[in-house]
């Protein structure tokens, strides 16, 4: 079965153990997974690029391959003992790449044969001297170039829409669904619906709306909170519509721009969700201050490196934003019908700053505060978690644990900004400060100093 704890060695079985001697056919090791018993050889770049490595000792003629040299030597009519290759040459050899930054430089990632390492070196670290004349592709290894030239432009499939394919099945699949085909044939009547689609299940018109609609706010709201269920799409869209304007207001707020980078980044969607939530219960006048408070909060939590404005690279932010987003979405999930209504606890005019202070007060009653509870969101839907003071953080973490020294996720969040640029105002807002939690100070300071041993056993026990 899958031996998943053996890192890196899960394979078809011919890697971790040496192949048994009884196998007649020579087993071919896969690229990058060499035989552990093999001898590792490192050749110089010059040797790898050289073409005639094997030289006949009789006539000094050079050959690219050893077997060619042997064939040639036969022609010299050498006496028997000189004809034989030395027997100690049987040992398996693997070759490493001389380029230090290459992954195949490491002996455990050596390649199995000389031709392979030569080709690899030329391909990856060599100059591309061979150019295809039909297309613009360049190759460093001649055999690659030859192989490409054979197929370049030969098997080409062109769809009516203009797209080119060099593989038949991708062409066929594309063609079947291409608009060009749909227009070519008349509208069909042979689809047999088993029954007229009921309103509950048929795709309602708003469904295509998110993909075409320019407003990313709506799209993000839809996608964040919903399953693949059309009804939810309808409902969310309808209730989200009135908030689209406030969503736009949010996007224009300069403080939030670093979070709304990219039209479909997670950061924008999560902050827009929050905007929508707050918008329904606040006037747009206090919006600016709210967003300011939240942006401080997000900055405090979020990771330090502000990623460029592309969706995927904002993953460092969503790491913590995910915390906040969860809360917003928990409203969707737990509040049932109240999709966009903010939980009733805070009065509409409360700014984010005030909310956090209130959370700090609430939290002071309990043994600790979690940021999550501090946002006042938990109180609306999960009252049991508020009543258990000892387990408050634990249920705040959704783990159902007994909390220990008051450390926990807040330290994760506080510890990080302390290192990467502390925002003292935010820390104070949470009512925790640096000295508030005595027991956890040590943990916090160690975190700040970055001292953390990772490579050793964590729990003093070998968890594996």
């Amino acid at each position: 079965m899958n031996d998943s704890t053996a890192s890196g060695d899960v394979s078809s079985g011919n890697q971790a153990t040496p192949p048994p001697k009884s196998i007649a056919k020579k087993k071919r090791n896969l690229p990058g997974m060499p035989d552990p018993d093999a001898e590792v050889i490192a050749l110089s770049p010059k040797t790898l690029m050289a073409t005639n490595r094997f030289v006949c000792e009789v006539c000094k003629k050079g050959f690219q391959r050893d077997q060619n040299l042997q064939l040639h030597r036969r022609g010299h009519n050498l006496p028997w003992k000189l004809r034989q290759r030395s027997s100690k040459d049987v040992k398996k050899r693997v070759y490493v790449c001389p380029e230090p930054s290459c992954v195949h430089h490491e002996p455990s990632r050596a390649l199995g044969d000389l031709t392979g390492i030569k080709k690899h070196f030329c391909r990856k670290h060599g100059e591309k001297k061979w150019k295809c004349d039909k297309c613009s592709k360049k190759y460093a290894v001649q055999s690659d170039w030859k192989a490409h030239s054979k197929i370049c432009g030969t098997k080409e499939y062109k769809c009516d829409c203009g797209t080119l394919f060099n593989r038949k099945d991708s062409f066929i699949t594309h063609r079947a669904f291409c608009d060009a085909l749909a227009e070519e044939t008349s509208r069909p009547a042979s689809v047999s619906p088993p029954s007229p689609p009921s309103p509950a299940l048929s795709p309602p018109p708003p469904l295509p709306l998110p993909s075409e609609h320019e407003d990313s706010t709506q799209t993000d709201v839809v996608s964040l909170a919903l399953p693949d269920n059309n009804n939810h799409v309808t409902e969310i869209l309808e209730s989200a519509k009135p908030d689209s304007t406030s969503g736009r207001v949010l996007e224009e707020t300069p403080l939030m721009t670093n979070l709304t980078s990219g039209s479909s980044s997670n950061g924008s969607s999560s902050s827009n969700v929050f905007a929508t939530l707050f918008a329904s219960s606040t006037s747009s006048g206090s919006f600016q201050s709210q967003s300011a408070g939240f942006s401080n909060l997000f900055q405090a939590i979020a990771c330090p490196d502000p990623m460029p404005a592309t969706a995927p690279s904002s993953s460092s932010e969503p790491v913590a934003l995910g915390l906040a987003v969860n809360q917003g979405s928990s409203i969707f999930g737990t509040a049932g019908q109240d999709h966009v209504q903010y939980p009733p606890a805070p009065p509409p005019s409360l700014s984010a700053t005030a909310l956090l202070q209130k959370a700090a007060q609430m939290g002071a009653a309990a043994s600790n505060t979690s940021l999550l509870r501090g946002l006042g969101i938990v109180s609306s839907s999960s009252s049991p978690s508020v009543s258990h003071d000892g387990a408050s953080l634990a249920s705040g973490l959704g783990l159902g644990l007994a909390c220990d020294s008051g450390s926990g996720l807040k330290e994760l969040m506080l510890g990080t900004p302390s290192i990467f640029g502390p925002k003292q105002t935010t820390l104070d807002l949470l009512g925790l400060g640096m000295a508030a939690t005595g027991g956890s100070t040590s943990g916090l300071s160690v975190l700040m100093n970055g001292g953390l041993d990772v490579g050793r056993d964590f729990g003093g026990q070998d968890i594996r």
Binding site: N2, S4, S12, A176, L226, A402, G443, G451
Partner: protein, 460 residues
């Protein structure tokens, strides 16, 4: 193969531990090794260890340890780094959302901080499934096996249970169009109106997809019919989690009448990346026809057997992440499995390629579910090849090895792709797609044992 993170500069504030003794935790006995040293030579094995420790910590409710590890992972992970870093960033996201969840019981798994799941157009999806042979392998193997099995039949009915919105069928329709038989073979494809809520997501309903297939079949002169079997969404509208009552409902709906099994048709049940969404927790089901404990997955397979198909093709991902696995082992298995597609992308797509990023975030979505949730909300319950074979056998199926032609076709397909993809055939006749030797996706074909096996349950 875990790539080395070379030359990665740890944050300048990470220096040697100043006060190791302060770092007292009843469980940990942290020795004096320096974090800098670990980070500078961080590779997949190290990340795996970190994830394992985090998982164990969450399992054993060690909150402190968990957040410490997450902090370290946060420094390592990067959505634009090498495959290990990218993968780690998705894992970290899932772990953080898990640890910070407030109300686990009623959360939708989609509501966590995952990127916006874009709805693709149907042509984009066509490109998506052909980016790497991950899906095409299963399509090719299954389609060829289907063509072999239905030879001689005049009518074919395929019950398609998959997550790729019928991307498999154009090549089959095309192959049928090429057959020089007259009159041509009639094809009918049925899909369910419900689909597991997982990427890839399409911006048009399945009915429209079917319409395009009908168009295409007409173009290829293949008599074709497309049905959508209404099984309803989750029973309550507010329920974003598929509950067990839905599965009960689903199973009760899948009988010969609703599926419209005709005796003059060759019935094929094609299950592609779908079986893993059926719960495999063993519960005693009140209406199960056999005594003993069965899971929904087992019940479903029995049900399929009762339909008397002439072939059942199953394609799925070769990893064990089912109900029985604990969090820590699941995290490790998932990490060691998901690096396969990440590594494949690294090989031939640039770091900022939008297709690659989309594919990776779809995988991130799965990771989010696998790592971040438990119980009914964890819908991605992958099962390895071996376990599936045993399950099929227990459900009354015997395996049908793939023919030589099929093997040749699949090999030809893989030759057209990047050179790390390979294939192996195991002794049961299943085909497995491999990347650099690691098992990725398996494809298998089965037939039920003699109809007498299911005699008393025929045609409910």
């Amino acid at each position: 193969m875990k790539a080395d993170v070379r030359g990665k500069n740890p944050s300048p504030t990470i220096s040697s531990m100043q006060n190791p003794s302060l770092f007292t935790n009843s469980r940990s006995s942290i020795s004096g090794a320096v974090l800098t040293g670990c980070l500078s030579s961080l590779d997949g094995a190290c990340i795996e260890k970190l994830l394992l420790h985090c998982g164990s910590a969450l399992e054993s409710n060690d909150v402190t340890l968990a957040q410490q590890v997450m902090w370290v992972l946060n420094n390592v992970a990067s959505a634009v780094g090498d495959p290990n870093q990218r993968l780690a960033s998705y894992f970290l996201r899932a772990l953080v959302s898990r640890a910070s969840r407030v109300c686990p019981a009623t959360m939708s798994f989609k509501a966590a901080g995952i990127p916006h799941r874009r709805l693709m157009s149907v042509t984009e999806l066509a490109g998506y499934v052909d980016l790497i042979p991950w899906h095409r392998f299963g399509f090719c193997a299954s389609n060829n096996a289907i063509l072999d099995a239905v030879r001689g039949f005049r009518k074919i009915h395929i019950l398609d249970l998959s997550i790729t919105h019928c991307m498999q069928w154009p090549t089959l329709i095309d192959a049928l169009g090429k057959e020089p038989e007259c009159p041509p073979v009639e094809l009918r494809i049925s899909v369910l109106s419900w689909r597991p809520p997982t990427p890839p997501l399409l911006n048009i309903p399945i009915e429209k997809v079917g319409q395009r297939l009908v168009n295409f079949a007409r173009y290829r002169d293949v008599p074709f019919e497309f049905n959508v079997i209404k099984v309803g969404g989750p029973v309550e509208e507010e329920e974003t989690v598929v509950s067990s009552s839905f599965y009960d409902f689903l199973l009760s709906q899948l009988n010969a009448t609703i599926v419209k099994v005709n005796v003059d048709e060759a019935l094929v049940v094609n299950i592609q990346n779908w079986l893993r969404y059926l719960p495999d927790e063993e519960t005693s089901l009140s209406d199960s026809s056999c005594d003993g404990i069965m899971s929904y997955r087992d019940s479903f397979l029995e049900l399929v057997g009762r339909l008397s198909p002439c072939l059942v093709t199953v394609v799925d991902e070769d990893c064990d992440l089912g109900a029985q696995s604990g969090l820590a082992s699941r995290i490790v298995s998932c990490f060691n499995y998901m690096w396969i597609p990440f590594d494949a992308f690294e090989t031939f797509l640039p770091k900022d390629s939008p297709q690659r990023i989309e594919y990776e975030s779809d995988i991130g979505h799965k990771i989010e579910n696998i790592v971040g949730y438990e119980g009914a909300q964890r819908i991605e319950r992958l099962e390895s090849e071996g376990r599936l074979c045993r399950r099929m056998a227990a459900a009354g199926f015997m395996s049908v090895p793939f023919g030589e032609e099929t093997v040749k076709e699949v090999k030809a397909l893989l030759d057209e792709h990047a050179s790390g993809w390979g294939m192996k055939k195991d002794e049961e006749g299943m085909l497995v797609l491999t990347w650099k030797g690691h098992n990725a996706v398996y494809a298998g074909a089965w037939v039920p044992y003699a109809p007498a096996f299911h005699q008393n349950n025929l045609l409910v």
